[in-house]
């Protein structure tokens, strides 16, 4: 009986144990099934991530910006082709190398002392650093560094050496243009003063000559008149020495490619272009001309500056270079031209804007020195003087047409054969020689009444009959 009870107890115990193990097994199977399903789901997710990583990897590899990753010790773990080639290396050549191999010692110290503390404080740093290529050349990098939580870094960079050099070159050209503009201002001011003084001195000298003729030779009055003449001659020499020589770069003619010239001018204009203004350019492939580079650049830049001011925050500046000019505004309300028109031109530069235009009152004055519609200290009123220089040195024909409220168009037509100032003097001398006879009757035309009177009196004293016209005569030019 006891043995039977023991067996029964033993069987019951084994049954309970079997029950526990069966339940544990069922639970384990269920758990394993659940884990397997979860792992399968994770594996699929992982495959998606792998594909995405592959795409990102390809994108990083084909990016034009340099991309590199470093580990906690600053050793490169990844570098795309753009980054490696920027420094003259092959793709995998720098993997495992420290980032410092790409920099000179002083730059390494600057990065260590200034850049790294800010990077690990803000987790990001953007700026410029100077790198060193494999061949030892210096390159300027624009760089963005990102610090990762594990101490590794992501570096995105681009080589801005060429861009910076171009900016420096544009700045140099701009400074040169400003210098030329200042010289032009001095020329206008100096020669205007010299012209007025010369008129006064000529009057003094003329009257002294008349006095000398009217008094007894050898008398005190004759001597004093001679002294006045001598002093006037000396004063005239002093004024001549004060006249500013205009033979600067603006008169130097050379073979230039106008396409390059326009592009350079626009690159400078780009620096001052308001963000909302677009520039449209229509250029031929090449446009070689015998021209003065600086005068054309100055003219274009000043027209562009005025156009930006006229357009304010938005608008379009159009620049076109061609053999044949386009029609100007269909019905220009305002028109002004300087220079002489020709039947044929080398090239025509047209610059138009969508600004507020030029009024009828303003258009006659826009080529006058120191005339400006801009606020005080904003415009010198000398910008468009350079266009007069163009007319003088290039025999160009400059036209401006405008519709107030709609825009302005400038057209610079370069003559097919420019006549140099020397040629003009020669022509003037030939005309002078041909028209003067033995006893000509002379018409004196002089806007300065005093000068006219002196000339008429002097000519009369020399027995040349002379009439004087000394009032302003309106001259009408037929179109």
């Amino acid at each position: 009986m006891t043995m039977k009870n023991d067996y029964s107890e033993r069987i019951a115990l084994l049954e309970r144990k079997l029950d526990r193990e069966s339940r544990a097994r069922a639970e384990a199977e269920q758990l394993l099934e659940s884990k397997a399903s979860e792992l399968n789901s994770r594996a699929q997710q992982l495959m998606i991530e792998v594909d995405r990583t592959h795409i990102l990897s390809v994108a990083m590899e084909s990016a034009t910006d340099g991309i590199a990753l470093t580990d906690q010790d600053g050793l490169f773990t990844f570098m795309n082709k753009a980054h490696a080639s920027m420094f003259g290396y092959a793709n995998d050549e720098l993997i495992g190398q420290p980032w410092s191999v790409l920099y000179q010692q002083d730059e390494i110290e600057r990065i260590g002392n200034d850049v790294m503390p800010k990077l690990f404080q803000d987790l990001s740093w953007r700026g410029e650093v100077t790198g060193k290529t494999r061949s030892g050349q210096t390159i300027l990098q624009e760089i963005v560094l990102t610090a990762m939580p594990d101490g590794s870094m992501i570096c995105s960079t681009r080589n801005i050496t060429a861009r910076r050099l171009a900016q420096l070159e544009a700045r140099k050209t701009e400074l040169k243009l400003h210098q030329a503009e200042r010289q032009a201002a001095l020329y206008v001011l100096g020669n205007a003063v010299a012209h007025d003084f010369n008129n006064l001195i000529a009057a003094i000298s003329g009257y002294a000559t008349l006095i000398e003729k009217d008094v007894l030779p050898g008398s005190d009055n004759s001597t004093w008149a001679q002294r006045i003449q001598q002093a006037a001659n000396q004063a005239s020499a002093v004024v001549r020495s004060l006249e500013i020589d205009r033979r600067d770069d603006t008169t130097t003619m050379a073979e230039v490619d106008l396409v390059d010239l326009v592009k350079t001018g626009l690159s400078i204009a780009e620096v001052i272009r308001p963000p909302g203004i677009k520039i449209q350019v229509d250029l031929p492939e090449i446009a070689i001309a015998h021209a003065n580079e600086l005068a054309i650049s100055r003219g274009m830049l000043n027209i562009a500056k005025n156009a930006f001011d006229a357009m304010g925050e938005s608008g379009t500046l159009r620049v076109r270079l061609s053999r044949l000019p386009q029609e100007m505004f269909a019905e220009p309300v305002v028109y002004k031209c300087i220079g002489k028109p020709a039947h044929e031109y080398q090239w025509v530069i047209e610059i138009s804007d969508t600004g507020y235009g030029i009024s009828i009152e303003q258009v006659d004055k826009i080529f006058e020195p120191f005339f400006s519609t801009k606020p005080f200290l904003k415009g010198s009123g000398l910008g468009l003087i350079s266009l007069i220089g163009l007319v003088e040195t290039e025999s160009a024909f400059v036209e401006v047409s405008s519709i107030p409220g709609r825009g302005t168009q400038f057209r610079i037509s370069l003559h097919l054969r420019a006549i140099t100032p020397g040629q003009r003097s020669s022509i003037a001398n030939r005309v002078s020689d041909a028209t003067l006879g033995e006893t000509p009757h002379i018409l004196v035309v002089e806007d300065d009444p005093m000068m006219g009177e002196v000339l008429q009196a002097t000519l009369s004293s020399l027995e040349h009959p002379a009439d004087s016209v000394n009032r302003r005569i309106p001259i009408r030019r037929e179109q």
């Binding site: 115990l13 309970r16 144990k17 526990r20 544990a24 639970e27 758990l31």
Partner: protein, 174 residues
Amino acid sequence: MSKHWSDTLADYVFGLDSLETRGAYTSVGTYAHSELVLLVNRLSAETETEENALVNAFGMFLFAHLVAQNPSSIAGFGSCLDLLSNIESVIHRDVRNLNPDAEFPIISVLERDGDQRLVLQYDSARPMAVLAEGLIVGALNYFGVAEMYRLNTKFRAPDNTRAIFEIEINDHEE
């Protein structure tokens, strides 16, 4: 339990009505620590053995069992102190990769003097400081250095949720 005592005792302990699992456990499952506490209470009462001694012994057994199941998990450690120093950074990290829902105690290295001495701190929401102590002893046994080292429990909170262990070379044994 069956091997050390008897199937009858094991059947009795696992037959507790208050156990949510009704005594069925599997190595891939996760269970409330309160069940372990209930099992220890009952085993202690039946065997008249202190609960801490039972948990300590279970820790030693558990370490050997874990290593037997995953020998590669500790293959990279050259010494027992290296293993104990990296529980948080290596062991827990690896386990978390396999089981993201797992909850771990925090094992901090307070001091380390080369291969001479190590001071660890145990912090947990569960009262398992004695189990940790047993695991440390299990590790010392595994590396065959249990007799060369001395384990000194410098502090243990009454509720067993925090403890500081000092493990150092036992000069007397040398």
